[in-house]
Amino acid sequence: MAERQSPLEPEFHVGSHGNFEHGVEILLTETRPGSIVQLAAWPGEEKKLMAAIRAVSGLALPDGAGGGLSDGAKSVFGFAPGKFTVTDEAEGLAAAFAKAVTPAIGTVTDLSHGRTAIRIAGPKAEWVLSKFFAIDFVLPAFPVGAGRSTTHHDVFAQIQRTGTDQFDIYVFRSFARSFWKALCHASEEVGYEVQ
């Protein structure tokens, strides 16, 4: 398999940046999942799709709008009624779902090359993201595992909380570099490290 190139490459500078003299409060990295798949259920078929997600990924989706979970390697969350994003460190998730999600249940869209996954972590992660997105990032409103779909300056973004102070953001690959630069600028005042 050919080595996948990152759209962030020219702006991806490993090390500490910004105002980090008093410590680094933000960690930024690209998670580079091998598979990013979007699943959509036809009306009334949502439960069957959730069962298929469990069969393929082993992840049992919780009930509730925007519910999700992650086991470290695989992640899943709802981002719209009857629609889910599933990611895996390994490639080949779309092919596995194409077998499990029959045309009667819904659709499978392979977005592995269409999205870039950026992870922001650290004690100031909520604070930095609040500069970007007009949604509530506090833990009771946005629990661990949950997903949200929103926009930053008309650029669509899906956000999953994968830890109490860690978020994975999925943005369009073509916008990823500019989003990454904006994220770096926004993190400068608290000091950030790119890993």
Partner: protein, 98 residues
């Protein structure tokens, strides 16, 4: 102005796209009733008060919503899926109960 999306919760109006008057009834595509077509295309209530509207949460879950907005105060008195009550939305309502 905030619109409380049944799936996503309260979001800024910037995430939504106005899809027009929610009172219109599209005539049958085969209809030759020109008065009905004229009414569908041009006639609007333009009320000073509660107004039925269709909005799309284009910067979020992309669902189409039936919204009742007061044209004087911008107060939103009801938001629902155009497609009817979705199971995941019903769960969101249950989840929000304290």
């Amino acid at each position: 102005m905030l619109i409380t999306c049944p799936y996503c919760g309260p979001r800024d109006v910037i995430e939504f796209t106005y899809q027009g008057d929610g009172n219109r009834e599209r005539p049958d595509p085969a209809s030759q009733n020109f008065e009905a077509w004229n009414a569908y295309v041009y006639d609007r209530l333009n009320p000073a008060g509660d107004h039925n509207e269709i909005w799309q949460h284009s910067g979020g879950c992309r669902a189409h919503l039936r919204v009742v907005r007061n044209t004087l105060t911008h107060e939103i008195s009801s938001v629902a899926f155009v497609r009817g009550d979705h199971s995941s939305a019903a769960r969101r309502k249950a989840e929000d109960k304290p």
